[in-house]
Symmetry: C2
Subunit: 226 residues, 2 copies
Amino acid sequence: MKLLYSGKTKDVYELEDGNYLLKFKDDVTGENGVFDPGANTVGLTIEGAGAAGLRLTKFFFEKLKEKNIPTHYMDANLEEATMTVVPATVFGEGLEVICRYRAVGSFLKRYGKYVKEGQALDAFVEVTLKDDERQDPPISEDALDMVGILTKEEYHTLKELTQQIAQVVKDELAKKDVELYDIKLEFGRDANNNILLIDEISGGNMRAYKDGKYIEPLELEKIIVS
Amino acid sequence: MKLLYSGKTKDVYELEDGNYLLKFKDDVTGENGVFDPGANTVGLTIEGAGAAGLRLTKFFFEKLKEKNIPTHYMDANLEEATMTVVPATVFGEGLEVICRYRAVGSFLKRYGKYVKEGQALDAFVEVTLKDDERQDPPISEDALDMVGILTKEEYHTLKELTQQIAQVVKDELAKKDVELYDIKLEFGRDANNNILLIDEISGGNMRAYKDGKYIEPLELEKIIVS
């Protein structure tokens, strides 16, 4: 088993059969010891965070499978905090695709002149580059095409899949009276150039609120999966 | 004559007949005494800069008129450094629409992971909000629609007009062996809700190069108009 990549919250190994194994770590992103799903740095380590993230990821990826939405998910081992996935390559050096139902976070920072904090947004989709050095800049459909990361057709597929997946997550959260404010997803291409959801869907990828109060990732996992 | 607005490089007055009068000032944008068309602050004052900006603006707006591209231009008084224009309202609290032929400036700052400095771009259009406090953030077609600044249809009109206008400027510069790298434009709506080019087209709105060397606004005016 060969380590391909060591990420902030996950390690990626190549298995002998060619599939990949993701090992979920107990590190979560944030700054100064405070969890922040939008942060680029590992802020703290929480025992059991990796297993909890995987449990939620397994839950959502299996829901998506039922709905025939393409993902890289094959199976999960909760004891080992590992997930087996189909190999996929990211777009460019990695994109994040965000779907927003409420104006918070970087959207509010950028467009605060025109929106109020928490204002409803209609499944607004935007793409940011994974580029720590340049603070993950937002990038438009035209620019993605111009720099050769995504064709216009791929962009539209990505946007549509993002809205479908976000809706599935939103509906599941709503069953427990939790409201999804925003979620960030990652996509890749499989060996046949099909676009599929990769990475994970856990508390660390989204902002969820209950009765107007932000729900921490570990608490979210307990509410949704238990 | 009533002062409506005092801008960084221009004052706007309302005339008795309802049209507007723009008074071009000798202040140019920049930082630490160095001219920078992308800057938000007035960096220096150059005697004759206002009149030179107006001369170039008059030249380009009259070219656009010949091509039936809608602008707010009526006439200009070079001695007074004033221009009479049709009243128009800006989109939201003001947008800048940029057309890029080379990757420099804020495009390079944001997407430097994917493009080389000076790399050719195919009349790439992007919109930024005029918002000094938030460093003029870029905003996508979807976001402009979502926050109620521009409909999708208006966005497409704006993009098409921007590419047409930039091409006219590029062609005029090319006649003097000057290359247009990028240009920023402003648009508004007239009383009948038609979209038209407003503000000015001068050296302060664009980056122009000759033999690989950046041409200062005042020099550009001399090269193009004389």
